[in-house]
């Protein structure tokens, strides 16, 4: 957190001064490359502080608890549908972890490289549909099928990335959206009956290992999802603290300056773009196994927007924020759907019943409120509260996510 202390809270540029010229962007490198406000800062090269060690220890303990969860009998009424060892609860928790992992890959795009992509679902969907179609049509075991899908995703991400990175900022958002939409349309059109159209595809289980099939084995899938989340977290942490991650963060802050230094912003951005596409496609493959089917929603732009909402809810620029946002959103979505179908809501008068029976209405409104009033998201707010309790001055933590967002423009 040493990097945040010299953040001046009044550092907004005067109206219009830096609006058009990239060189006019404020700040002369006064924060480190990563700037993750929540949990684990990645720029603390000089010496590992006690807090950082404590954060990692807490993380490890949490993972250990999650590993043991299917063997325990823990009830969380209102959060989980049943005791923690039941398949329903494990399914929901596994979904939370996959969504948290997917949000982490989106964090890699937006929080690290400042790329506001609206086409991330394309690669998630490519993982889901690619693996489903390959398993359906080819008689090969799971791992080679996953490898083949990965190959397709790598090519796809390179093609789309190299075209859409020719523009940046908002145009980049629009272009990635268009590509993702093309993918979504193709899936909806159901060419040769391969994608199943609106119905989706059911997973063919002939070539799958037995321990991944069936409701009885939900806890294996749960452990798989947990492993994916931990792996993605470690990889994202590693990328953020690598040279490429630092270069990407520098590109986000001031592309021109990076170019003057002799680095190539385009290649750095493409690297991050492809890497996050690969990671999210693997998550998509596990999602397919967990859901035992491919659904059109997995490739729709709604999913990208969901990931964006998770990242913003959790706090832009923070890895823990992305994880918390993913879990929080998934559980809230599930609970609100249950609420919408409950008797209590059905008996309300129309003016209350209609908004309350639409989970997305509540989530959308919540999202607007967070953007307006809690710019740091959940993680940023928690950190600000913690800071206030320790009596430290300054609200620099809240400013950082805003700056990251502005860098993406």
């Amino acid at each position: 957190m040493t990097t945040d202390t010299d953040t001046n809270s009044t550092g907004r540029p005067a109206v219009g001064s830096g609006a058009t010229l990239p060189t006019g962007k404020r700040r002369t490198g006064r924060r480190g490359a990563g700037g993750a406000p929540g949990g684990a800062p990645d720029t603390g090269r000089p010496g590992i502080t006690g807090r950082r060690l404590a954060a990692w220890a807490a993380g490890l303990a949490g993972v250990l608890l999650l590993v043991l969860l299917p063997l325990l009998n823990i009830s969380l009424p209102g959060v989980l549908p049943g005791p923690s060892y039941t398949p329903g609860s494990l399914q929901l928790l596994a979904m939370c972890m996959l969504m948290a992992a997917a949000a982490l890959t989106y964090h890699l795009l937006l929080g690290v490289a400042g790329l506001l992509s609206f086409g991330h679902a394309l690669y998630f969907g490519a993982g889901v549909y690619g693996l489903a179609i390959i398993l359906q049509n080819l008689d090969i075991p799971l791992l080679p099928a996953m490898g083949l899908t990965l190959l397709v995703v790598i090519v796809l991400a390179h093609v789309v990335g190299s075209i859409s990175l020719r523009v940046s900022g908002i145009p980049f958002a629009m272009v990635t959206l268009a590509f993702a939409q093309a993918g979504s349309v193709i899936v909806g059109r159901n060419p040769d009956g391969k994608t199943g159209g609106d119905e989706g595809l059911t997973l063919r289980t002939d070539n799958l290992p037995d321990f991944l099939v069936g409701v009885v084995n939900t806890r294996n899938l749960y452990w798989l999802a947990l492993a994916v989340l931990v792996a993605v977290f470690v990889i994202v942490t590693w990328v953020q603290s690598s040279r490429a991650g630092h270069a990407a963060a520098a590109v986000r802050e001031n592309e021109l300056r990076v170019r003057v230094l002799g680095l190539q912003p385009y290649l750095v951005k493409l690297l991050i773009f492809v890497l996050s596409a690969i990671l999210v496609s693997v998550i998509g493959m596990v999602f397919l196994l967990l859901q035992s089917g491919a659904i059109p929603r997995a490739i729709s732009s709604d999913l990208t927007i969901t990931l964006l909402v998770m990242v913003v809810l959790g706090g832009v620029g923070s890895r823990w924020g992305a994880v918390i946002g993913g879990v929080f959103y998934t559980i809230l979505d599930q609970r609100l759907t249950a609420l919408a179908n409950s008797e209590a809501v059905r008996s309300l008068p129309d003016i209350l019943r209609v908004p309350l029976s639409e989970p997305l209405f509540i989530l959308g409104t919540l999202f607007i409120l967070v953007v307006l009033f809690l710019p740091g998201g959940l993680a940023g707010t928690a950190e600000r509260l913690g800071r206030r309790r320790r009596g430290r001055a300054g609200n620099g933590g809240a400013e950082t996510p805003r700056e990251i967002l502005e860098d993406a423009a």
């Binding site: 907004r12 109206v15 219009g16 001064s17 609006a19 058009t20 506001l116 075209i163 859409s164 020719r166 523009v167 900022g169 908002i170 145009p171 958002a173 629009m174 272009v175 959206l177 268009a178 590509f179 939409q181 093309a182 349309v185 193709i186 059109r189 732009s301 927007i305 964006l308 909402v309 913003v312 209609v354 908004p355 029976s357 639409e358 989970p359 997305l360 209405f361 989530l363 959308g364 409104t365 999202f367 607007i368 953007v371 307006l372 710019p375 805003r402 967002l405 502005e406 993406a408 423009a409």
Partner: protein, 291 residues
């Protein structure tokens, strides 16, 4: 030959709808740098408002149809002005957060429309003349296409007149060109922001009513599906350029129709391909300023 003409007019009708959405998007982006995801919601609200009027006051009537156009446009304009005034205004100069706000708004409103009008499409009927066809060079063109085209051309002319001849139009054009200079001259650009949002919302609301007649139904997803193509049109035409949006809207829609017919339903795919080509060879769009 008659097929070509039919496709051409269907494409022009669709292009008219694209233009009505893209015009507002392009102006809003050009002036404020905001990518307005809620634009589809303005359109859907206009469409549902028009549908409610037709349902309550009788559909087979030109007067009612014109009324539904006006009220639909007014609903879109009011919603857009509200959005700008209450939500966007708090976050000036924070472009991405403005985008996020419009995104949240589109999520929330689509869900709300789902709750009010249901997820299934509701079918709409216009004056009986809409169902007839007009014979042009052997092609039988459904009449609702002409209504869309005429309306879009009128909106285009009105917008061009407004932008070129009126004081506020000039402020908007100057703002698109160089906002900081306009501010430095002591002009309050914020009024222009609200105005641009209102105009864009009105055009989208009008487009919504027309789209409901063009497609024959209204659904909460109507705005979202048109919005994606409007985004493509805006990028191809050049962000901030009204003429570019008009040209690109027609080009994209006609291309889409022809590809759908001759290349086995690949229209959407061809449009994305066209977008990729434009980006490769002219990243700023057809009539966009060179970045």
């Amino acid at each position: 030959m008659s097929t070509v003409i039919l496709l051409l007019f269907t494409g022009l009708g669709l292009g008219a709808l694209y233009f009505l959405v893209a015009a507002g998007l392009s102006l809003i982006y050009g002036l404020m740098g905001v990518l307005n995801f809620a634009h589809g919601a303005f359109l859907t609200l206009g469409a549902f408002t028009g549908w409610e009027i037709a349902r309550r006051a009788g559909s087979d009537n030109w007067g009612i149809f014109l009324l539904s156009l006006i009220i639909g446009a007014a609903a879109g304009a009011a919603f857009a002005a509200f959005t700008e005034f209450v939500l966007i205004r708090r976050l000036y100069q924070r472009h991405i957060e403005q985008v996020l706000i419009t995104l949240g708004l589109s999520l929330a409103t689509v869900a709300l429309f789902d709750g009010i009008w249901g997820t299934d499409p509701v079918y709409i009927q216009g004056p009986a003349w809409f169902k007839d066809t007009t014979d042009i060079l052997g092609a039988r063109i459904p009449n609702d296409r002409f209504v869309c085209i005429v309306a879009a051309v009128m909106v285009l002319l009105a917008l061009v007149y407004f932008l070129k001849k009126t004081r506020y139009g000039m402020i908007i054009r100057a703002g698109v060109e160089n906002r900081s200079m306009v501010t430095a001259l002591g002009i309050d650009v914020r009024k222009a922001f609200t105005l641009v949002f209102t105009i864009g919302g009105a055009a989208a609301g009008l487009g919504g009513v027309l789209a409901s007649h063009y497609f024959g139904y209204v659904s909460p997803m109507l705005g979202g599906s048109l919005l994606i193509f409007a985004f493509i049109v805006t990028v191809i035409g050049g962000l901030g350029s009204l003429t570019g949006a008009a040209i690109a809207a027609v080009a994209v829609a006609v291309l889409q129709q022809f590809a759908n017919f001759y290349l086995g339903g690949t229209g959407d795919f061809v449009v994305v391909l066209a977008l990729a080509l434009v980006l490769l060879f002219r990243p700023s769009g057809l009539l966009g300023r060179t970045a």
